[in-house]
């Protein structure tokens, strides 16, 4: 297991509290989603981000509003970190038309164009070529924004990962590939799916600069992400950032977790990024116990509001079933 390094990053108190709030929001939102799933309010596949919060929060804080974000089907955390309304996400998972994708997508397909959040993509590695294309468009349009693409280590075994890395490097486009290595592609451990398990090494084959970071430590992720984003922005070239992390919960709600030892999970839980960051903030006197309590209460109330919003949401009339197959406006 990688060691947590102590980092010195200038985070002002306001931003620190905000990031702490986001991590806690993701954690509690996911807990609530699991609860709603057991009540059958949420159906289909539900993939929880619990344990990996530092990655989404640490990377997304480094982006600007104009940057594009593409994620996998384990994307609730990224959507929240990007600023998507928790109610719109919960309503989406309920399948209500007030959801961010009008309920058409569900848990795996959260979209919000207004914040440049492009899914919620559930074909492993299928969104990597799209991310390259978006970055190519930015380059052609001289827009100056970058595209940030999250994927798991399972995706790095797909051909589309390799094609995307090659194209991005060949075309010199501003895309940040963020590999969230949580060690399991569903139930297959990385040692059974990658001949080279230090995934950052895969960058060299394509001339893509890369690095690996302890994804269980927010400060480490922030430092690595800030640096990576700056590089992509400055030189317009791709970068591969591998965040080594771990998911505490099962792959999906259907997973009996036969493939990993409970002790292993318990070991990783000792490195939970949230208490660690909380500890850090307390020690640095950036935050007080009282403020933490206040943040917890705010998070609880935001989540309750999200659930209330989803509950109050409405079902799209069946006579609208065939909408959004083709654009109505033929001259868009």
């Amino acid at each position: 297991m990688p060691k947590t390094k102590s980092k010195k990053i200038d985070l002002d108190a306001k931003k620190s509290r905000h990031l702490f709030y986001q991590m806690l929001l993701i954690r509690k939102f996911e807990d609530k989603a699991a609860e709603e799933y057991t009540k059958a309010k949420i159906r289909g596949f539900l993939h929880l981000y619990i344990g990996e919060e530092a990655v989404a929060v640490g990377v997304i804080q480094a982006l600007t509003d104009d940057d594009n974000v593409l994620c996998t089907y384990r994307e609730h955390g990224h959507a929240l970190a990007r600023g998507m309304d928790a109610g719109a996400i919960m309503a989406e998972m309920y399948g209500k038309q007030e959801g961010c994708s009008r309920g058409r997508g569900g848990s795996m397909h959260l979209f919000d164009k207004s914040i440049n959040f492009f899914g919620g993509n559930a074909i492993v590695a299928g969104h990597l070529p799209m991310a390259v294309g978006m970055a190519l468009a930015s380059k052609k349009q001289k827009k100056g924004n970058i595209t940030c693409c999250f994927f798991g280590e399972g995706a790095a075994a797909e051909g589309e990962f390799h094609e995307a890395m090659n194209l991005a490097a060949l075309w010199k486009v501003p895309v940040l590939f963020v590999c969230e290595n949580n060690l399991y592609a569903m139930g297959t451990a990385i040692r059974y799916s990658h001949s080279v398990q230090e995934l950052e090494k895969k960058g060299a084959a394509y001339g893509v600069e890369s690095s690996a970071v302890n994804g269980m430590n927010l400060m480490d992720v922030i430092e690595a992400a800030n640096e990576a984003v700056q590089k992509v922005r400055d030189n317009g070239k791709p970068y591969l950032l591998v965040c080594n992390t771990y998911r505490f919960r099962a792959h999906s709600m259907f997973d009996a977790e036969l493939y990993r030892d409970k002790k292993e999970v318990e070991e990783w839980k000792k490195r939970d990024p949230i208490p660690e960051f909380q500890e850090f903030l307390l020690k640095q006197k950036i935050i007080t116990e009282k403020e933490i309590k206040k943040i917890e209460n705010q998070v609880d109330s935001e989540i309750q509001k999200a659930v209330d919003f989803a509950e109050a949401g409405t079902w799209e009339p069946i006579d609208q079933l065939t909408e959004f197959v083709y654009s109505e406006n033929e001259t868009k």
Binding site: R102, R104, F111, K113
Partner: protein, 328 residues
């Protein structure tokens, strides 16, 4: 009266491409060997020199990668024309076409439309054997969210791209390599064409021959032969395989009361099976004879010329089939 010029199917495409590139800076062509090689089938020859490498992009052999990149570029405000060298390689990009291009509008609740145009070479008839001889229009036509065009005439080779580029949604243009050198006369002022309707290419009263792609000229020639024998066949080019324009062929069947559907694609679960079903469902009482189909034989296409020809409907098969329907 407008003047006509003689033009190859290839040149018609090239003119359409050049015009598109001239008209809109957001449009660029990307594909394997489209630039320095001049296009695998010389369709884009000279365009690199004319428009530069930003607009005419050679790409590596990464079908999924560059088709996906085209989709991403379309999402981000560009108007890419992605050329897939042949439909068999196109299978490697099927994930991008089916799972991304065709679904994003729907699963984002209408937020993300994908204005990408994907041109794919297709067809049987050049002794290229089982891995390079395909009529796979049905694969694409099955997918809601795609607009699927089949270029059966020179007018469409010249004009479909223009209209496809106006579409807010992904358009697959199926082109036929076996027709590239074929010369036909088209009007000199030929430009954009409609991409929502099938077309009655030849009007007739005795039977509706419904076809697309390489079937169009074959059926027209068959109709000429039949005319000499006093049979007045109507020929319909479907042109748009999704969403299907059923109005045109149903109206034709209502007029002729007989239908033969001709395609190179394998018979089972094909375009013709869909057309046939719709005629049964919606024009059954118009029929004086059962609907017949001439399709590709269900075999991986073999190399030898005589076996290859026996794999897909020929003009003589069409003539024979029509006569059998009319004089059973």
């Amino acid at each position: 009266m407008s003047q006509t010029i003689k033009i190859t199917y290839r040149e018609a495409f090239k003119q359409g491409l050049r015009e598109a590139l001239q008209n809109d800076d957001r449009i660029f062509l990307m594909g394997e060997d489209v630039g320095r090689y001049g296009g695998a089938f010389a369709v884009s020859k000279g365009l690199l020199q004319e428009f530069g490498e930003e607009r005419i992009m050679d790409v590596p052999l990464s079908e999924s990668g560059f088709v996906g990149a085209g989709i991403g570029a379309a999402l981000a405000g560009m108007k890419p024309i992605v050329e897939v060298m042949t439909v068999n390689f196109g299978l490697l990009a099927m994930d991008q076409i089916v799972n991304n291009a065709a679904t994003l509008l729907h699963m984002s609740g209408g937020q993300l439309n994908v204005p990408v145009v994907i041109r794919i070479s297709c067809g049987i008839g050049q002794q290229l054997a089982a891995q390079h001889s395909h009529s796979w229009e049905p694969f694409f036509a099955q997918v809601p969210g795609l607009v699927v065009l089949s270029v059966g005439t020179h007018e469409d080779a010249r004009g479909m791209l223009h209209t496809a580029l106006q579409s807010p949604d992904p358009v697959i243009i199926i082109e036929y390599t076996s027709m590239l050198n074929l010369e036909k006369e088209i009007s000199t002022d030929m430009g954009a064409v409609n991409i929502t309707k099938a077309k009655v290419i030849k009007s007739g009263k005795d039977i509706s021959i419904i076809t697309y792609g390489t079937g169009v000229y074959k059926c027209l020639e068959s109709a000429d032969e039949l005319a000499a024998e006093g049979i007045d066949a109507e020929v319909i080019d479907l042109r748009v395989l999704r969403p299907l324009d059923e109005e045109t062929f149903l109206a034709s069947v209502a007029k002729t009361h007989r239908a033969l559907i001709v395609e190179d694609a394998w018979r089972s679960v094909s375009i013709s099976s869909e057309i046939s079903s719709r005629i049964m469902e919606k024009a059954f009482y118009e029929l004086d004879a059962s609907v017949k189909r001439l399709c590709g034989v269900e075999v991986p296409i073999p190399y030898p010329l005589h076996l290859e020809q026996a794999s897909v409907p020929q003009k003589s098969d069409i003539v024979k089939a029509v006569k059998r329907i009319i004089n059973p």
